[in-house]
Symmetry: C2
Subunit: 348 residues, 2 copies
């Protein structure tokens, strides 16, 4: 089906766009009271993730309510460990917790490689419903966690400021770490292929904990696996967002992906220098959305100016925080749309 | 008194050293069973901080037990808010908590500017005892939090992944934020002057939460105040360690300080390029100390190689984690000492 709004895909491919497309990480989430109502209906976070009809419903909410240029499937990066045989629970205020973690070769042996529909059919079904109900309005983004981030949760057992247990395995038992990372990577490729079959238009890899690694460790234990995934996905454009991995941007120039996401610590100008061929995504500081409207407009315009027109997908530099007012999000979105359109018009 | 080992001071001043000096952030802390015994004796963390005899005792322990090239006074950066009228408590596993936080102009008005001995005499006393008992063996490092990091705690009320409340004030009420930052800065200068009078040989500013800010926000709300402090401290060399602020290194070249600390995300080679006149401190990934001895030696040598000989103070890229084995720390320290001495000898 022909998309009515394909700005995001054209921007990802480096093609002309009449304005900069915009969406927000975590746009399908707690900032919307409509999301909170659906989640209430589902029961728990995980019940919402595993209920295709309700997952599709919250996926589409921000398209209707915020007028973003893309929908991103409502799911969680931790469905992969679960599909591999390591389930998680989501505890209020504590975030994801793994009752069992991976500590030994025997633990890794017990994990299987996720095949796709078999374990993760509920995500495929949510994608099919979403695709049907979106009816070509905007592109649908699929996603997965980058292998190192998934590894970090599976070994650490929860979020962590330092991920010192996960990192200890990298330094102490690198062979074991690589075995686990490869199993995660193979599972992730199967999962992303499943998402493509189910209809996603573009895929994003989230390396949420990239920033805990040194440049050398990141290259060996994260980028090598992201690279495998990018090479395996040829059907749709891929975006890689590695939060905190400013040091890896030069090496990312070699990735077979179309778009690189930037967090708000990173400078658009510096990233353009080392990534001349990639589209960039980002990167307003999410906390700007706590400010008064005038300040949001000012900072959003400065962000658009810093990337310039073309090869840019506007976003925050991180997921939107749950206590942000949706009206502030709308000001951000409207400013991106009108200001970038003005700039394109002026450049002609 | 003439120091018997002044390697750290010579390195900070960019002078010749026969080997690279080494110490660890948080060396006076939970890694040592002797520290845990003293803390037990004190009662609580805050009782240890405010007890000059016991604070001096744990300050000296790593000099005796780990043979580091400097002692750093055992204290906490949050003594400054307390001295300004905003007390904190330390909760097991939760870290520091502020029963009251700063939210308004009235809250800021109520704070007073710390004068030094008057509120923080217990730190001065701990420094005098330490200085006497060190008896010139190694230099004594004093420290304070950088104003933005102190601000972040005072507004947020505790540690946080995002410090979104503190950052919201920067964007929403910048005038108020600057007022609070100036009060903290004035207090910090008085506090550091008191430490100099009490005998410290060198001072370090810790900007632990630098990494939550965008480059523009960091320049306006953090670096401007660090710069005031560096300009005010002329008696002893100053080190600035801004964790996560890789983006600010070029601007730090203008700081009136001798040494810039690097975390383990930052590349020594890149830092040398933008900071040709400063001594650099750091930056082994603390998690390397979980590895086998051979791997610790290898990674430590690689770290020494990355900085080269001269204008380098070896350290971890962050405080040592409490569950690290002191024997691993000793391997790190011994490797720095012997390997850097070999390199100096070879270079002659």
């Amino acid at each position: 089906m022909q998309l009515q709004n394909d700005l995001l895909l054209r921007a990802a491919k480096g093609e002309y766009t009449e304005r900069t497309p915009v969406w927000l990480m975590r746009q399908a989430g707690r900032i919307l009271k409509e999301y909170r109502a659906t989640r209430e209906k589902a029961g728990s976070f995980i019940q919402l993730v595993t209920n295709p009809e309700l997952a599709a419903e919250v996926t589409i909410q921000p398209v209707d309510l915020l007028c973003v240029d893309a929908a991103i499937i409502f799911s969680d990066i931790l469905v992969i460990p679960e599909a591999m045989g390591l389930p998680y629970v989501m505890e209020e205020k504590k975030g994801p917790q793994f009752p069992n973690t991976i500590q030994s070769a025997a633990d890794i042996d017990k994990l299987h490689i996720a095949q796709g529909e078999e374990e993760l059919g509920y995500v495929a079904e949510a994608l099919r419903i979403t695709k049907r109900e979106l009816n070509g309005r905007v592109p649908l983004i699929g996603f997965a966690g980058a292998p190192f981030t998934i590894f970090a949760y599976m070994v650490e057992g929860s979020g962590s400021k330092t991920f010192s247990k996960a990192k200890a395995m990298l330094y102490r038992e690198p062979v074991l770490a690589h075995q686990l990372l490869q199993k995660i990577t193979d599972s992730t490729i199967n999962y992303l292929k499943m998402q493509i079959t189910a209809g996603v238009d573009i895929l994003q890899l989230f390396d949420s904990w990239a920033g805990v690694l040194s440049p050398e460790a990141y290259s060996e234990f994260s980028l090598a696996y992201i690279s495998q995934i990018c090479d395996a996905i040829t059907e749709v454009p891929v975006t890689v967002f590695a939060k905190g991995a400013f040091f890896a941007l030069p090496e990312m120039a070699n990735l077979n992906c179309r778009t690189i996401g930037l967090d708000w610590n990173m400078s658009a100008a510096d990233a353009r220098k080392v990534l001349p061929n990639h589209t960039l995504q980002g990167n307003l500081d999410p906390c700007v959305l706590y400010a008064e409207p005038q300040q949001i407009v000012k900072q959003t315009k400065a962000m658009i100016d810093s990337f310039g027109i073309g090869k840019h997908i506007a976003n925050l530099g991180h997921g939107v925080y749950p206590d942000i007012n949706p009206d502030a999000v709308r000001i951000f979105i409207d400013t991106v749309k009108t200001y970038s359109a003005e700039k394109v018009a002026q450049s002609k």
